[in-house]
């Protein structure tokens, strides 16, 4: 009879019978069974580990997303009255989702002391800030004294406006568009001054990005000043945030699921060209530690990519994030006033 080798399965099945027959009363684990049970144990450990780690990872991502998206707003600590300016509190709704937004309407002051709203600027603040932020309030006051009416308001989730998640411009652009609607057809204070002849905007950091996103779809915004605006938010989140890098993609996904915010779509550089031929002025500090100066170059290049673009840039030497006004003082105000005067024309009520 020819030699017949056992199959692998037969070998696996055999030793249990032979070992027990060889050593009655002793139950020995053969090498095959031991190897099999080791593999199964390993697979079970892998399954448990993978499940626990993955669900912890997802749970932590959801928790971080919640913490990142909403923080209690900073209080309004100062008003334009501190600068000797007249102003009125205003309330208006954001476009599309109709959130209640609170702000100040400050009429411009002409050299003869008369008030004017002919050229009205929408002032858009940055992240975790409000209309009473020192930069915004100081600049608003300086521009109002140079004859520009000011609409300074709290974006959603900040100051006294309705609570909302922070979306770095994705939803906040609706607030700027709501401000435009309010100036064009809302119940403005100082009815004796009429309605604005032209509307323009100034924004810093997230406010600048938000203003660009809004101006790209609203031709009523006739000119834009972008101070320290970013070209795209995700690279900044990846480099500047306190969130551990491993969680960034999952937190962004959790934010999208929980709040419907797509940070990957918050890219002012993709839409800035639509602002042309309306003029746009980019300001950026060379020592900006939050939004690298390269963002200005990206935005300016994108804005100039179309014919009839009117793009100005100003790199302020040594200025950190949104510090250009603080560093340059009256020079900053003069350059911004000159830009807006060229873009919007003079106030005709002086005559």
């Amino acid at each position: 009879m020819p030699l017949q080798l056992p199959t692998r399965d037969a070998r696996a099945a055999l030793p249990a019978q032979t070992s027990s027959s060889r050593r009655p009363g002793h139950r020995l684990r053969t090498p095959v069974i031991s190897r099999r049970s080791r593999i199964i144990t390993l697979i079970v450990i892998l399954l448990v580990l993978s499940e626990v780690l993955t669900f912890c990872f997802v749970g932590l991502s959801v928790y971080i997303a919640m913490r990142v998206e909403y923080m209690p707003p900073l209080p309004i600590t100062k008003t334009p009255a501190a600068f000797g300016l007249q102003y009125r509190d205003v309330t208006f709704l954001s476009r599309e989702d109709h959130l209640r937004l609170r702000g100040w309407f400050i009429p411009g002051v002409l050299p003869n002391g008369h008030l004017t709203v002919q050229r009205t600027l929408i002032m858009v603040h940055g992240t975790r800030s409000n209309r009473a932020a020192p930069l915004l309030l100081n600049l608003s006051s300086a521009l109002a004294r140079r004859g520009f009416a000011i609409l300074a308001f709290d974006m959603r989730g900040m100051g006294e406006s309705a609570p909302a998640p922070l979306s770095e411009g994705y939803f906040e652009q609706r607030d700027v568009l709501g401000a435009v609607d309010f100036l064009r057809s809302g119940s403005l204070p100082y009815p004796e001054l009429g309605r604005p002849r032209v509307i323009a905007g100034w924004g810093d950091s997230m406010g600048a990005a938000t203003l660009i996103l809004a101006a790209a779809q609203e031709p009523a915004i006739r000119a834009v000043v972008s101070d320290s605006g970013f070209a795209a938010i995700v690279p900044l989140l990846e480099s500047n945030t306190q969130i551990p890098g491993v969680f960034i993609p999952s937190v962004l996904l959790a934010v999208r699921v929980l709040y419907g915010i797509d940070f990957y779509a918050t890219r002012p550089a993709d839409v800035v060209a639509r602002i042309a031929p309306r003029p746009i002025f980019f300001i950026q500090g060379t020592a900006d530690s939050v939004v690298p100066a390269s963002n200005l170059k990206v935005l300016a290049m994108a804005a100039s990519a179309v014919p009839h673009a009117h793009v100005q840039t100003w790199m302020v030497q040594g200025a950190d994030h949104i510090q250009s006004f603080q560093v340059m003082g009256v020079v900053y105000v003069n350059r911004v006033v000159n830009f807006f005067t060229q873009a919007l024309g003079p106030d005709t009520s002086i005559a």
């Binding site: 009879m1 020819p2 030699l3 017949q4 056992p6 199959t7 399965d9 037969a10 696996a12 099945a13 055999l14 099999r36 593999i39 199964i40 697979i43 079970v44 892998l46 399954l47 580990l49 993978s50 499940e51 780690l53 993955t54 669900f55 990872f57 997802v58 749970g59 959801v62 919640m66 998206e69 909403y70 989702d97 989730g157 309705a162 609570p163 909302a164 998640p165 890098g245 491993v246 969680f247 960034i248 993609p249 999952s250 699921v257 929980l258 709040y259 419907g260």
Partner: protein
């Protein structure tokens, strides 16, 4: 020379050596059930969250956030529970196959579960290594 060992060609041994398509599908079903359950429940959670978010838009941020988180956490807990139960069922099936000498099925399913563990870890692995 006498043979060292001789194993009879029983019907059982012949059946063990072959894995028919029907038995292969059975293995695949046992192995894939946990992963399919997990994926279906996670997708349902995502869709449910988006739906709840759209329903609660007018109720304000805090209510919208509370409801969305409630749906997400409930959905993920359900998914984790269903996945765990499906894994336990699959492991019992593997153990049964071992006891009934269907070691081909048992080994295939064991490695299939190993692959499942790797696939479930993918979000974490991708976040760690591909950035």
């Amino acid at each position: 020379m006498a043979p060292v060992t001789e194993y009879p060609q029983t019907k059982q041994n012949v059946r063990r050596a072959q894995v028919t398509p029907a038995r292969l599908w059975h293995i695949v079903a046992v192995v894939a059930t946990p992963l399919v359950l997990l994926v279906v429940l996670v997708v349902a959670t995502l869709v449910g969250t988006a739906f709840v978010r759209s329903l609660t838009t007018s109720d304000g941020f805090f209510i919208q956030q509370r409801d969305a988180i409630l749906v997400v956490s409930t959905g993920l807990m359900l998914a984790a529970t269903a996945y765990t139960i499906a894994i336990i069922v699959a492991l019992r099936k593997i153990s049964h196959w071992h006891k009934t000498n269907k070691s081909r099925e048992a080994v295939g399913a064991t490695w299939g579960l190993g692959m499942t563990a790797v696939i479930v870890s993918l979000p974490l692995l991708l976040a760690m290594f591909i950035r």
